[in-house]
């Protein structure tokens, strides 16, 4: 099980979510799951993502997930960055 925190328009993926409240999903993960595979399951396109944080580390989408992980995803509208310049944690 991991917890996925969603911001901006991604909040709409959680029924009953409201701005001003933490918006998160608990998700089962399978052996070999990565941030990218979880995003796919959530129907989040990579191009639509500005920032990913895994356990408070700025991350690429190809990191493997483990039980108990905290994942946070910010949409492109909350982008305040040129992503190619950022050194991201990678596995």
């Amino acid at each position: 099980m991991i917890t996925v925190f969603l911001y901006g328009k991604f909040r709409d993926k959680v029924a009953g979510s409201a701005v001003g409240k933490e918006c998160f999903l608990e998700m089962e993960i399978n052996e070999g799951d990565t941030i990218a595979s979880v995003m796919e399951r959530l129907d989040i396109a990579p191009d639509d993502v500005a920032h990913i944080f895994l356990n408070y580390q700025y991350s690429t989408a190809n990191r493997k997930l483990h039980h108990g992980d905290r994942l946070a995803i910010f949409p492109i509208e909350m982008s305040v960055l040129y992503r190619q310049y950022f050194v991201k944690y990678n596995d």
Binding site: G20, M78, V80, Y82, V87
Partner: protein, 578 residues
């Protein structure tokens, strides 16, 4: 139209016009205030005594049609830090001052009659001192209202509230926005106390229309303006994120980075972050009225500002920025944004810097004066400042002073100035900037935060200690240059990423001045001005030992990363050594 410098002597109440030397002609903003302060102020003087001077200077391109360029720099020796100081603000006065042909205003001496305040009235061809009369003792909201009533709408106002009149170390200098709100502050470093010490309540600027700002090479200027405007329109940060969510979008981002200082810098993550960030401000603009995408002055195309309303839809405060949402929010564990907005409003009215005020309340909470998380008690406590009560005077003197008054060890300051909203133990490069900036802990001194969390302008790993020194200096020189042009520092997001936008910025500067500065000159000039500021500080008694973060950060691990600050002293010392 020839430019001139106004020298205002508060001892004999004279106002004199002086010619601008060739050396000063090519300077503006921070470069000009710091050059004048370094030339005319004895570094060892008492900041509130007769030998300090307060200098106001619009930037090099301020007053022209260049986008987002209406900044006013205010400089002096700081009573809060004891260092040289420049703080700048948007709002409407800077463009008007520039359009009157005023290159800088130097305020010197002390008023003869203690407790008496004056206003400096500027208009085309005139500059006079008048008694402040009924404005004395008034908060900034009423001050601004009375001035517009008496002298007409759209007057530019630079003023101090009661905190400045009482010479409190955390008093800022207010500039009014287009709606006459007092929320655009040159807040940091106690410059409001310097203004108060001289008996100057306000500078009011009457000027309408585009004025007549000299542009040496209009074609080059125009070309540069177009390039820069295009860059700002193309870049996602300046065209989308800032106008939609404002700077407070960073509350959730820094929280997820584990770098949002919480509970007086004892954690990097705040449970209530979601309730206090830019998304809520954006939502309220729809449900309560108010505004996002607000411009703090005419001609800003980025529009990061906002207007935040009460639940009943009436005006509460403008702007509510990231630093303020954090200072009174996560830092005090207050998760009620209406309470945070009220604390912001009190700062604007009494005339206080919001960052240091939030730092102060956090330290007062640490001391047990009021509980963490109690917004209503925080409002009561901050309201004491304007009354000048004994506790109010402690709070009004800022974070470092309050820490000493109550025997607190965890006091988040560098050179007496409170650390802004980026936790150095999680974002180590910005710690280098906080430690080594010429003005005390200052998030605008160098944009390492942009590289590290926002990823603008280079590569950096937020948790690695190596090469932070060179990085910090590079950003400090870039920053001082932008602070001298009159452009809002937020253009950095675009100009550091887009070569054309950068060239556009340079072209506008060269266009106005008739110079031929290259990108390399840009670095050299920035480095030169930075050295000037460092020299002032050295002569004032500052050494390497002052370029350090507060000791607790070196031994208290900060959750969730559980890191201490481990950038070696040699890295900090290397920033300014070459």
């Amino acid at each position: 139209m020839g430019k001139f410098i106004l020298r205002v002597n508060m001892s004999d109440l004279s106002v004199k016009k002086e010619d601008v030397s060739e050396k000063y002609r090519v300077l503006g903003g921070r470069a000009l205030t710091s050059t004048i302060v370094a030339a005319e102020v004895k570094p060892t003087c008492h900041p509130l005594g007769p030998h300090n001077k307060l200098v106001f200077a619009p930037g090099i391109v301020t007053g022209t049609t260049a986008p987002s360029s209406g900044r006013l720099s205010v400089g002096a020796k700081s009573p809060l830090t004891g260092t040289i100081k420049e703080a700048n603000a948007g709002g409407i006065p800077a463009q008007k001052i520039a359009r009157l042909g005023i290159h800088a205003i130097i305020v010197e001496g002390l008023q003869k009659e203690k407790g008496k305040f004056y206003i400096l009235k500027l208009a085309q061809g005139t500059a006079v001192l008048e008694e402040a009369g009924q404005l004395t003792g008034k908060g900034m909201y009423e001050t601004n209202k009375l001035i517009w009533q008496k002298y007409g709408e759209d007057i530019g106002i630079i003023g101090i509230g009661p905190a400045g009149e009482m010479k409190m170390l955390n008093a800022g200098v207010s500039c009014n926005d287009p709606e006459n709100g007092p929320g655009r502050y040159a807040g940091r470093g106690g410059l409001g106390a310097v203004m108060g010490s001289k008996g100057l309540k306000a500078i009011i600027v009457e000027q309408k229309g585009p004025g007549d700002v000299a542009i040496a090479n209009p074609d080059l200027f125009k070309q540069g303006q177009q390039k820069l405007a295009k860059g700002l329109a193309d870049h996602a940060v300046t065209s989308q994120a800032l106008p939609t969510y404002g700077t407070a979008v960073l509350v959730n981002i820094l929280n997820e980075a584990g770098g949002l200082p919480t509970r007086n810098f004892s954690a990097g993550k705040f449970e209530g972050a979601s309730k206090t960030g830019g998304e809520v401000i954006n939502e309220w603009a729809k449900t309560r009225g108010g505004k996002v995408g607000h411009a703090c002055h005419h001609g800003c195309v980025i529009k990061c500002s906002n207007v935040v309303n009460h639940p009943d839809g009436t005006y509460h405060v403008s702007p509510l920025e990231y630093e303020t949402a954090w200072a009174f929010g996560a830092n005090c564990e207050i998760d009620n944004l209406d309470d945070i907005a009220e604390l912001n409003r009190i700062c604007n009215d009494v005339g206080l810097d919001t960052i240091d005020s939030g730092g102060t309340i956090g330290v007062a909470m640490e001391a047990g004066i009021i509980p963490f998380g109690d917004g209503k008690k925080a409002i009561e406590l901050l309201n004491e400042v304007g009354k000048g009560s004994p506790i109010g005077r402690i709070i009004g003197n800022g974070t470092a002073f309050t820490g000493k008054a109550f025997g607190v060890v965890r006091v988040p300051v560098v050179k007496g100035q409170s650390i802004p909203a980026y936790e150095p133990r999680a974002v180590k490069g910005i710690g280098v900037t906080f430690a080594t900036a010429t003005m005390g802990a200052d998030h605008t001194a160098g944009y390492t935060i942009a590289t590290e969390i926002l990823s603008v302008g280079g590569k950096a790993d937020p948790l690695a200690a190596a090469e932070k020194g060179a990085l910090a200096r590079g950003f400090q020189t870039a920053t001082i240059f932008i602070d001298s042009t009159g452009y809002c520092l937020f253009i950095a997001f675009a100009v550091l990423d887009l070569p054309d936008a950068f060239q556009g910025m340079l072209d506008t500067v060269n266009g106005v001045l008739g110079t031929g500065y290259t990108a390399e000159d840009f670095n050299c000039l920035g480095a030169e001005w930075l050295t000037l500021e460092r020299k002032f500080n050295e002569a004032a008694g500052f050494t390497k030992a002052d370029d350090r973060l507060p000791e607790f950060m070196y031994y208290e691990k900060l959750p969730p990363h559980n890191h201490v600050y481990d950038v070696p002293d040699e890295v900090l010392d290397s920033v300014h050594s070459s």
